[in-house]
């Protein structure tokens, strides 16, 4: 999926509801209540935090191009997709990204794999004096322990690892471009990985597209690593999946909620604004379908809000809130978040 396609896909979902910068924050993985709740509202888990390094400059360039092509338009400060834009969205077999699940941790896995392959390759060539491509100490320590633990001096580790990589790369959801980008980023004895620019130029793509294709491959592989079929990569992927996908701060709020504190008490205790704590609750509800919301909102209110939302064809908080003065913004957000989960 190319960058423009991702933007169109997202804008299609938030069309008329959010500003033109909302996709930027989503792709960057901004940990604000608004962005995190949008992930659930609009079912955009795949794209959350996939491009933490994205510059505003590159983003604006892409958005300008979409305006120019008349794929999108700006109306009353929200971004809309045009009919032309909708027809420009190529039908995807399926979205291969899983940003919500990995939050950048996929790169930790990648670094480990890169270093493990480089080391195995060098040792196989009997050239044990090499400069590791991965410099950070955590990665080096992890891979060192990993290799020793797996008895890497016996060559079947190298063979088994190749076998597992092969299997995962053969996944029919991937195409050869994915596989090529993935394998050509790796380095080993006398074989140095290619830079984004080199990969992109060879295939006449932009660097950003090259990175996205690589990430699709990485996510798909991580999604399919299993203890049974790929035990070696499974242990290399230790602690990569986020089990409770909460930000640290929301996690603390969650623990206090579980202990029975009220929102006001938590705000007081943590010296945070009540709005922030409400953001946390939205995040918690987004992450946990079975989190009870009845302490914050009655069943009838949820029904009322959802009814109005579908009647007005909107997810804009102000529009709903204006019609229902007795509920709070927080309650509207809660109801919308929960409703999307029911539709999943």
């Amino acid at each position: 999926m190319h960058f423009h396609q991702i933007l169109l896909f997202i804008i299609h979902k938030i069309s008329g509801q959010r500003s033109e910068n909302a996709p930027f924050y989503l792709l960057k993985g901004k940990k604000s209540g608004q962005t995190i709740q949008d992930v659930t509202y609009f079912q955009l888990h795949a794209f959350f935090s996939i491009l933490p390094q994205l510059s505003k400059e590159d983003y604006d360039t892409a958005i300008t191009e979409l305006y120019k092509e008349q794929f999108i338009e700006l109306k009353e400060s929200t971004v809309h997709i045009t009919d032309k834009g909708i027809s420009a969205i190529t039908q995807q077999k399926n979205v291969l990204l899983n940003g919500w699940q990995y939050r950048g941790k996929e790169h930790v896995f990648w670094k480990r794999l890169d270093l493990a392959v480089q080391t195995l390759s060098q040792f196989h060539a009997n050239d044990k004096k090499f400069v590791p491509n991965q410099k950070d100490i955590d990665t080096q320590q992890f891979v060192k322990d990993y290799l020793i633990q797996h008895n890497f001096r016996q060559f079947n580790l190298s063979k088994e690892m190749k076998h597992e990589l092969h299997l995962l790369l053969e996944n029919p959801s991937l195409d050869d471009l994915h596989r090529t980008f993935f394998v050509y980023r790796l380095s080993g004895f006398n074989t140095i990985g290619l830079t984004w620019e080199q990969l992109a130029r060879y295939h006449k793509l932009s660097e950003l597209d090259a990175k996205i294709i690589f990430l699709e491959c990485l996510h798909t592989m991580l999604d399919n690593i299993s203890r049974e079929a790929s035990p070696l990569l499974y242990s290399l992927a230790k602690n990569i999946r986020i089990e409770t996908p909460l930000t640290d701060s929301a996690f603390k709020t969650n623990s206090l909620l579980e202990k029975g504190y009220s929102l006001e008490q938590i705000a007081d205790l943590r010296k945070l604004k009540i709005n922030t704590i409400e953001d946390h609750v939205i995040e918690i509800v987004s992450a946990n379908k079975s989190f009870p919301i009845s302490t914050f909102i009655s069943k009838e209110q949820v029904y009322e809000i959802l009814h109005l939302s579908s009647e007005l064809q909107t997810k804009k908080l102000t529009e709903i809130k204006n019609r229902l003065p007795e509920v709070s913004y927080f309650q509207v957000r809660l109801a919308l978040t929960r409703s999307e989960q029911l539709h999943e």
């Binding site: 390094q53 392959v117 090499f130 955590d138 092969h166 394998v183 050509y184 140095i192």
Partner: protein
């Protein structure tokens, strides 16, 4: 075989010492302070590494350049030395704590001048028995040096806080003034001085004046497509590295660009590709070259007047590490002096910056990072007027340096002789291929380019995976 030669062979895999190495190493072992100036690529690291195996205690290496520190640690590890650590601000908190607790387990501790301020680190250091302290890139201590690091000056107080300890100062470039600064700051006591000639006879110098930027490009294209590399083209802007690379690639040259704005992972890959010979040319800003281990670089091309003679020598010095003939070419136009001065002044504090810095409500975020760092240091030591005066002097010195370089390349005097003279060294013997002012026959130096290697092989992921992991 002497004990020294034995260690040289066993630990470092060399058969004999290079000129001066043994002498310096013996002085260190005998507990003398040492200041050694020798050109890059002349085995500088061996000087502080080898004596470590002849002395009790830990060696502390203070190094102002983080990338270099990383490289030195890696090189020692490659030699099989595991008792080595780099303690700097990039070390994650937990790793740092762990290292502090086990400091005595290390034979080599690399650290940055900034870290010397860390109390916890100092407490741990005090418990160690220190063999000697190495001040690497010691020219950075001098404010007259071309890359002055104010933090490095703090090493003076730090050394005083230790019990009497020997100091080894190493640098590849130092004028007399700088040497005096180093001695004073490091509180050196009647040190043994070893000054190797900074001349690199295997490098011939060529200067070419052209009329405009377009001519530079055509000259570069002509040279690179007709002669053999490997080589580096140094330019001053990131954009230009990319432009040059694109033009050369179109001519079938295997080339990449390199600058500091690239992702770290990509920078490492390019370095490795070049080192292993998969790339023939690199178009780079001065960010490239630190920690490059490649012996057979044949050409260095500058498309500009460098901001300092010392920086130029360092960049040029990356050629001909194998001792075979290489050539350094410098292209310039008559307006390049202003351009270079502008580049070197980009981060330099102006008078009003200094005035702002001295205001009580001054917030550090307002200025560029390097400016802030230098100003902060002097603010603690000088008053406003003296600081302004000092920076005027430094600025003037920079302008003079660039002017001096310009006149060096323009006059009719042997360039090699002038470059050495800048470092107060005589030219003892002129090599056959000296410089374009002494007459230079470029075709006899550079191999004629036979054919371009065709690097565009079909990508095949299965084959590639098999190459990586052949079993």
């Amino acid at each position: 075989m002497s004990k020294l030669n034995e260690i040289l062979q066993k630990k470092f895999g060399h058969i004999s010492f290079r000129e001066g190495q043994k002498e310096i190493i013996e002085q260190i072992i005998n507990g003398k302070d040492v200041i050694a100036i020798l050109p890059t690529g002349m085995g500088k690291s061996l000087l502080y590494q080898l004596p470590a195996y002849m002395k009790e205690g830990t060696v502390i290496i203070v190094s102002p350049l983080l990338s270099l520190m990383q490289d030195q640690v890696e090189q020692l590890k490659i030699l099989g030395e595991k008792r080595v650590v780099a303690i700097n601000s990039f070390l994650p908190f937990q790793e740092r704590e762990l290292a502090f607790r086990h400091l005595a387990d290390f034979k080599f501790i690399f650290t940055s001048p900034e870290m010397l301020q860390n109390e916890q680190f100092n407490r741990a250091l005090k418990k160690l028995s220190i063999a000697y302290v190495v001040a690497d890139e010691a020219h950075c201590i001098s404010q007259w040096g071309f890359d002055f690091r104010p933090d490095y000056l703090r090493i003076s107080n730090w050394l005083q806080s230790l019990n009497k300890v020997n100091v080894v100062a190493l640098t590849a470039t130092a004028t007399k003034d700088v040497v005096e600064d180093i001695k004073k700051t490091l509180r050196m006591n009647n040190p043994f001085e070893f000054i190797h000639s900074l001349d690199r006879p295997a490098i011939a110098y060529e200067v070419v004046e052209v009329d405009n930027q377009q001519e530079k490009l055509s000259w570069i294209l002509g040279r690179v497509t007709s002669t053999e590399g490997p080589g580096i083209i140094y330019t001053q802007s990131r954009k230009k590295t990319e432009v040059y690379a694109a033009f050369l690639r179109e001519k079938g040259i295997s080339v990449a660009y390199y600058h500091a704005k690239m992702e770290q992972s990509d920078r490492i890959l390019i370095q490795q590709q070049f080192q292993q010979g998969h790339l023939e040319w690199i178009c780079a800003t001065n960010a490239f070259g630190m920690g490059i281990h490649k012996d057979n670089i044949r050409q260095i091309i500058h498309d500009h007047i460098p901001t300092s003679v010392a920086g130029y020598m360092q960049e040029v010095g990356r050629a001909a590490r194998d001792g075979d003939q290489a050539i350094a070419s410098l292209l310039y136009t008559s307006t390049d002096v202003e351009q270079t001065f502008y580049v070197s002044m980009q981060d330099f504090p102006e008078e009003q910056d200094i005035q702002i810095a001295f205001k009580p409500e001054y917030a550090e975020v307002e200025q560029a990072e390097t400016t802030t760092r230098i100003l902060k240091y002097w603010k603690e030591r000088l008053n406003e007027q003296d600081t302004i005066q000092l920076f005027k002097q430094i600025k003037q010195k920079k302008w003079q340096d660039i002017q001096k370089f310009y006149s060096m390349i323009q006059n009719d005097i042997c360039l090699r002789q002038q470059l050495l003279h800048y470092f107060d060294q005589p030219l003892l013997e002129k090599p056959i291929h000296c410089c374009s002012k002494c007459k230079l026959d470029v075709p006899s130096i550079l191999g004629k380019r036979m054919k371009n290697r065709n690097d565009q092989v079909e990508m095949n992921w299965k084959k590639r995976l098999h190459t990586l992991l052949p079993l």
